[in-house]
């Protein structure tokens, strides 16, 4: 018997994984959580039908969401992770001895339990003594703090579901208040390729660039995310993501990575032209392509 899991990347496009077996499936009250054991990607964490991570390529996402801001900010002492229930982002942060406190605010306790049980290589830092784990709505948590954090990482699910409130202006703006004057905010910024993701990416940029004096977008190649191409946002009132990069300081830390390096750091902010147009003008690739198709077919 063949067992396949398919994830829809758009209404008319899906990607499929041959599944060895299903390890976990339950609704947490917030979302449907599944862990699948696959031939190609190892264990795969799926929430509400969407892949959150795979054992094989999760390092790319977690390294890029963590090391980019860490290589820019000269001295992160207190970091806040919103979401990130699997623990991958916390794992990367825990590699920095300079960090004294990490607060992780994940609304869904089951996400953490499932990762602890089925994804040991991802969740291995949950017992780090610097970590405080709080199960609460991220928006509710962040609005109570002013001038507290050096770094906030928003490691959220998509805007349709429990992560909804983490894509709002009130969230980003309250994050800015919660950051210290020279703090950095990094977020999962959706993908530029398929219409739904791209519209969200443009909306996020519209909101964040209205709030932060410096709002930049960078990219990574993540094979299991839609189109294999994903975006991250970098926001700050002080630091420029490329000009304020201090490669020597970061390299001295001796952190071993598999995707991130300081040469790639600058390159990640060099966006393809269609992505720039998406962010700056809200132009969706789909529109251009479909317009051409309509003209081709005459009266459609």
């Amino acid at each position: 018997m063949e067992l396949w899991f398919s994830e829809y990347h758009s209404a008319d496009m899906k990607i499929s994984f041959r599944v060895r077996r299903q390890l976990f499936s339950r609704h947490s009250g917030f979302q449907e959580i599944q862990v699948l054991d696959t031939e190609e990607y190892g264990r795969v964490l799926v929430m509400d039908g969407f892949i959150m991570l795979t054992e094989k390529d999760e390092f790319i996402y977690h390294e890029m969401i963590t090391h980019v801001p860490m290589a820019v900010h000269p001295a992160v002492r207190k970091a806040l992770v919103i979401g990130g229930g699997d623990g991958g982002t916390v794992r990367e942060l825990c590699r920095y001895p300079e960090i004294e406190d990490i607060v992780m605010v994940e609304i869904d306790p089951m996400a953490v339990e499932v990762s602890r049980r089925y994804l040991p290589t991802v969740s291995l830092s949950f017992d780090d003594p610097r970590l405080t784990l709080i199960h609460e709505d991220g928006l509710r948590y962040v609005r109570r703090y002013h001038d507290v954090f050096d770094l906030i990482i928003v490691d959220s699910t998509d805007p349709f579901g429990p992560g909804e409130s983490l894509f709002t202006r009130e969230f980003y703006s309250n994050c800015r208040h919660a950051l210290k004057e020279d703090g950095i905010l990094v977020n999962q910024h959706e993908g530029p390729y398929f219409r739904e993701d791209a519209e969200e990416a443009a909306a996020i940029y519209r909101k964040t660039s209205a709030i932060f004096p410096i709002a930049a977008v960078y990219q990574a190649h993540i094979p299991t995310y839609p189109a294999g191409h994903w975006l991250f946002g970098f926001m700050s009132s002080r630091y420029h993501p490329v000009r304020d990069l201090d490669p020597e300081r970061w390299e001295k830390l001796g952190i071993e990575t598999r995707y991130y390096n300081t040469a790639l750091h600058a390159g990640a902010f060099a966006l393809p032209t269609y992505v720039r147009r998406l962010l700056e003008k809200g132009e969706i690739l789909d529109t251009v392509f479909r317009q051409a198709a309509i003209e081709d077919n005459g009266d459609e």
Binding site: D137, L139, R140, V142, R143, E164, S165, T168, R169, E170, F171, S173, N174, H177
Partner: protein, 492 residues
């Protein structure tokens, strides 16, 4: 006040006869040679794609198996009986022209031309318009005003008593309960007063549907013994916009036929089955689950009040403002917030929430805004509102404005609304209309309570208020002039 026990019914509230008939109709796959012309959606593909096949397939005309709203004798009559039972009424009417038509039916069926009706001045425009249609003569009772909040309250018992004393020939008393802000009057005493003087007591309960389903909420019109009540099931109950109920108490049992005739004067003869079915399904939902639904809503509202008050600068007020008089009780599902200490008007906060945060609230006035919580709310929305307010305080908050202009203007009545409305009139710029008699209404919308009603003198106070409200960002409406720069005044 003894708390009523709600949720005990004589009929089996699990039924939904109109809904069930529509489901049955759908199964029959009838061939239609009647209206509407889209014939279950087939004739309008784009509309069907937008609203859905399910929806269009039951957008049908009155027929035997589906009864008729004009003269119900089948499933609509049954559904109305179930609704009457659920609301503790003697009987009820389903309405599809909004609660406006319920308010008009109450007034038109109680007052003939020239009859007096006692009412607060801060009523919705639908009540003022009903005075034009009925040619009734209003006896306005000034609502008390909470000076600190700048909002009008309910009618105080002693004020109504003195109005009754001065106008013992009045036919009815109209009570607006709760007000938009959630303020309730001492309804039971008002009903007793009215009945003792042989007057009908009519309740505009447009914002009080939920009172009927939770013991934690104030007394409802039917429980207080009112003769009629207009209930906007769509406002806080969850039915489709424009669907509404007129509830009748035992006192008008013999008048039911006449009231039906009054309703049919203005109600459409092609009532939408989508609206009617939504009344039936919503009534069933509230009868079966209303208590737990509104428990949750009250929790959300109380949580939001506490959190908003913890931000500082905002006063999310509630039951603590009750004074046993004109602020007799409070509807805890409402979330009114006083913004003056923030140095922002309610309208400014209302605009900021909509434009910058994609949060639409019910209305903003000079010093307050109002969020309405109802069956459809969920925690993420509440958290967004609180967080947006926290951000507004941080980014926009400033020193409190010193001048508090009251939300209530004492009217100077020169003739009845009907006399003024039907008289010859001319159009004048606002600034030159001082001292003249208004022939039309002027109001901020929302909330839609007239600043000037037809028949009232244009006073300095009213003009100043209009100018001030405009400066604060309120949207004016009600005049013939779409730009609201000219006012129709009576030629005397």
């Amino acid at each position: 006040m003894s708390k009523p026990i709600r949720g005990r019914y004589a009929l089996d509230q699990k039924q939904a006869p109109l809904y069930e008939a529509l489901v049955e109709f759908r199964k029959r796959r009838m061939v239609s040679f009647d209206v509407p012309g889209h014939k279950q959606g087939r004739g309008n593909e784009e509309l069907t794609a937008f609203l859905g096949k399910q929806c269009l397939s039951v957008d049908v005309n009155a027929m035997k198996m589906l009864d008729s709203l004009i003269h119900p004798s089948g499933v609509i009559a049954d559904a109305q009986q179930l609704a009457a039972d659920a609301f503790g009424a003697d009987s009820c009417f389903f309405l599809v022209n909004g609660t406006t038509s319920a308010v008009q039916a109450m007034i038109l069926s109680s007052c003939s031309p020239g009859d007096k009706i006692i009412m607060p001045r801060n009523v919705h425009r639908s009540a003022i318009n009903a005075l034009i249609l009925s040619r009734a003569v209003p006896v306005y009772v000034n609502p008390s005003v909470n000076q600190k909040l700048g909002i009008p309250l309910g009618m105080a018992v002693e004020d109504v008593a003195s109005a009754i004393g001065a106008h013992p020939d009045a036919k009815a008393i109209l009570v607006n309960n709760p007000t938009y802000y959630g303020v309730c009057a001492d309804l039971k005493t008002l009903v007793e007063l009215g009945h003792a003087s042989g007057m009908r007591v009519l309740v505009d309960e447009a914002h009080g549907t939920h009172f009927y389903f939770s013991e934690e909420l104030p007394l409802s019109g039917m429980e207080a013994g009112a003769d009629m009540s207009a209930v906007s099931l769509h406002k806080t109950g969850g039915s489709l916009t424009q669907s509404s109920l007129l509830l009748l108490g035992q006192g008008v049992r013999n008048e039911r036929g006449y009231i039906g005739q009054i309703i049919n004067l203005t109600q459409t003869t092609s009532a939408s089955y989508l609206l009617l079915a939504s009344l039936d399904i919503t009534r069933r939902n509230l009868a079966l689950r209303g208590r737990s639904i509104y428990r949750r809503v009250i929790d959300y509202a109380d949580y939001a009040r506490n959190e908003i008050n913890a931000i500082g600068g905002f006063d999310a007020f509630g039951a603590e403002k009750c004074d046993g008089r004109a602020f007799f009780a409070f509807d805890t599902c409402k979330l009114p917030v006083h913004t003056r200490a923030m140095g922002l008007s309610g309208v400014e906060v209302y605009d900021l929430l909509r434009d910058d945060y994609d949060i639409q609230i019910e209305f903003g006035d000079l010093h307050n805004f109002l969020a309405i919580l109802s069956v459809g709310d969920r925690p993420v929305g509440i958290e967004r509102l609180i967080a947006a307010l926290a951000d507004i305080r941080f980014t926009h908050g400033c020193e409190p404005a010193s001048d508090l202009v009251s939300e209530y203007i004492t009217p100077c009545v020169a003739m009845t609304p009907a006399e003024a409305f039907y008289s010859s009139s001319e159009s004048l710029p606002f600034e030159t209309s001082l001292g003249r008699i208004a022939a039309e209404s002027v109001m901020c919308y929302p909330p839609g309570i007239p600043i000037l009603a037809p028949g009232e003198c244009v006073t300095q106070e009213a003009l100043e208020y209009i100018r001030y409200a405009r400066e604060m960002g309120s949207r004016m409406t009600g005049t013939e002039d779409p730009a609201v720069e000219h006012l129709q005044v009576v030629i005397e």
